[in-house]
């Protein structure tokens, strides 16, 4: 069977499975819609968190970026896993004990202020929109390739699917669907990785395989070959990278801290019955995530070798365009890979200097990797299903955050306290609709690669929520004025920096013009520091948090008596 038919079948089957689960576990009440009634066991919750967390950025884009960035790509690997340590140790158990639905709920109550709540809602919306823009792009890439349409149509189809699917279930539907999605995406990610690792090195485990010697009998280490090839072709040595140390540090920190501040991840820890389960969920989530994240760098390096060999030929002299492998012609239709014959020799050549004739979008690497390695068609179809699962699970979680921020935090808790549960749900659905439309716009006009756009979302979360939550737990004197000022300064600074370099003056977007040489992806770290500093300075000039709030903070430090997450 051809790839297109197989993809229809596999994606169709998995989609039917998700819808089936969503209908079976339909949200009956607003509590179900937001937190699944607090009744999800830690392993299932860990798996759902992993699916929620691993988005199109992790699945589709990350390995591709690592493939192009080499060592510099490690920022994504460390950043998106290390955040779980912060989350499990510093936030999850306390937020669970606090027992509210949403992050703005925590901020609003802890800082005893409607203003703080509204600022937090706005931050949550900004972060989630940025994030969802990246997802829509990812879904678009998948559909455009496998339905053989251009990227814009792909985004629109994906958008419709995501919206339809989120409306069916709330958190409860989503949690169990996400367990299924995790299984699909982890399977779809690791199977092709095992194949290509075995082809290239004779090893079965990708994690050790990409450090092994090549199976072509040369006795050379894979990474050594890749370093050599990269340098010959004008790229940086694969294992060394080109970003400055400070920038690598800043991006990694922004991603880690951002992970711990992301509203749609934090909300997950409200769905377990006990505080000890919240800790455990964090551990399971990271374990499940690591399955994909330790595989990714193997896919990245092996596929890079495969790409260089299939575009340039084993002898690195270029391959005749008429003899181009099918993956090149297939992806050309999406517009995400292109060839211009500069020297008119009829041969393709991919390098990082004046000889280059190829334009390869990093976002296609993972989806194309089974084709590049000539794996059977069903593996290609499986990867497509995995990509859809990843993008759907995260988009659904994000839409839920956006809709609950607007309907619950903004409407119900602030503007119109008397609306009924039913009306609240209605507002939630309308808000989700708007979110999808805006997401689709940015999906069609992306400000960067999927993983980079997503990295901005993390920077924004790092600069806004993380300090407010951390001080909310560990610094009981911190008051509303400090927290509000900190959040505003953090998010405005970070957002302005990103917008300036990505939209207003993209020509200046290089290390010479960056503040301390820190890229827009890493600026969230500076935003976070500013947030802390501003908050602490403001606290010195204002009255510390009232006594009852300080007692409340004391009480969340001890696990007993957590009860269910409450509505009030």
């Amino acid at each position: 069977m051809d790839i297109k038919t197989l993809t229809f079948i596999v994606v169709g089957l998995t989609f039917a499975l998700y819808i089936g689960i969503a209908i079976w576990a339909r949200a009956g009440s607003t509590t179900d819609f937001y937190v699944a009634g607090g009744g999800v066991p830690p392993v299932a919750n860990g798996m759902a968190t992993a699916a929620d967390w691993m988005s199109a950025a992790s699945f589709i884009s990350m390995a591709g970026l690592i493939s192009f960035l080499g060592y510099d790509g490690s920022v994504y690997l460390m950043g998106w896993t290390g955040g779980y340590v912060l989350l499990a140790l510093c936030l999850a158990p306390y937020l669970r004990k606090f027992g509210k639905f949403t992050v703005p709920d925590f901020v609003g109550d802890r800082y005893y202020s409607q203003t703080a709540r509204v600022v937090a809602v706005i931050c949550a919306i900004v972060v989630s929109f940025t994030y969802i823009a990246g997802q829509m792009r990812g879904v678009g890439v998948v559909f455009s390739r496998f339905l053989e349409v251009d990227i814009t149509t792909g985004v629109l189809i994906g958008m419709a699917m995501v919206y339809f699917y989120t409306l069916l279930g709330g958190m409860k539907g989503i949690t169990y669907t996400q367990v299924a999605q995790y299984c699909v995406l982890a399977f779809a990610y690791t199977v092709p990785a095992v194949f290509i690792t075995f082809q290239m090195t004779g090893h079965v485990f990708p994690q050790t395989g990409f450090g092994a010697t090549l199976a072509d009998g040369s006795g050379q280490y894979l990474l050594e070959r890749l370093d050599g090839l990269s340098q010959e072709l004008g790229f940086a040595a694969y294992t060394e990278g080109t970003k400055s140390k400070l920038d690598v540090f800043a991006i990694t920190m922004a991603l880690m801290v951002g992970t711990a501040g992301l509203p749609h991840v934090i909300i997950r820890f409200f769905t377990v019955p006990k505080v000890s389960d919240a800790r455990r969920s964090g551990g399971w989530a990271l374990l499940f995530i690591a399955v994909v994240y330790t595989t990714a760098p193997a896919i990245a390096s092996i596929t890079k070798v495969n790409i260089l060999n299939t575009l340039n030929g084993e002898d690195q002299q270029g391959v005749l365009y008429e003899e181009a492998p099918s993956w090149v012609t297939n992806w050309e239709r999406t517009g995400l890979i292109s060839w211009e014959d500069h020297n008119e020799d009829g041969r393709m050549f991919f390098s990082n200097d004046e000889r280059n004739e190829m334009n390869v979008d990093a976002d296609i690497i993972v989806l194309a990797s089974p084709e590049i390695a000539n794996l059977p068609n069903w593996v290609v179809a499986l990867v497509a299903a995995g990509g859809v699962a990843a993008a759907l699970s995260t988009s659904a979680g994000l839409l839920l955050v956006i809709s609950s921020s607007i309907s619950h935090d903004l409407m119900k808790r602030t503007l119109m306290p008397h609306i009924s549960d039913r009306q609240e749900l209605l507002y939630a659905r309308i808000a989700a609709g708007f979110a999808v439309l805006i997401g689709a716009y940015f999906g069609i006009n992306p400000p960067g690669f999927v993983a980079q756009v997503v990295a901005f979302a993390f920077g924004l979360a790092a600069a806004s929520f993380f300090p407010a939550i951390i001080m909310g737990i560990f610094y009981k004197r911190m008051n509303s004025h400090g927290a509000i000022a900190g959040m505003i300064v953090g998010i405005v600074f970070t957002l302005a920096y990103i917008i300036y370099f990505r939209f207003i003056n993209p020509a200046a977007d290089n290390a010479d013009n960056w503040l301390f040489g820190i890229s827009p992806e890493g600026i969230g770290t500076v935003g976070m520091l500013l947030n802390f500093i501003v908050a602490i300075v403001v606290l010195q000039f204002t009255k510390e948090a009232p006594k009852e709030i300080q007692e409340l903070v004391e009480s969340i430090r001890y696990p007993r008596g957590a009860g269910e997450a409450t509505h009030h």
Partner: protein, 88 residues
């Protein structure tokens, strides 16, 4: 609060913080230390075909993170029991 006394509560929180800081320093040293700051030095060492610094950045740090969280879960459960604040 379910503690026997104010002192108990304080001692519990102190032990909790000490554990947290210990684990967070490992977290920092392995990722930011080995994976970023010292990467060039460690890259001189070969480790199963990887340069060691590169391995920490793309594999080792992730394994360490998992171990850290599970140590934390274990130690906190013990601590909860010790001060009998564990959830029944």
């Amino acid at each position: 609060m379910a503690f026997e006394s104010e002192d108990h509560a304080k001692a519990y929180w102190k032990e909790n913080l000490a554990l947290m800081l210990k684990l967070l320093s490992v977290w920092f040293i392995v990722s930011f230390g080995f994976g970023i700051i010292l990467v060039d030095v460690l890259n001189q060492i070969s480790f199963f075909g990887f340069k060691l610094g590169f391995w920490f950045a793309q594999q080792g740090s992730i394994y360490t993170f998992i171990v850290l969280i599970f140590i934390y879960i274990r130690q906190m459960n013990l601590l909860d029991k010790k001060y009998s604040v564990d959830e029944e």
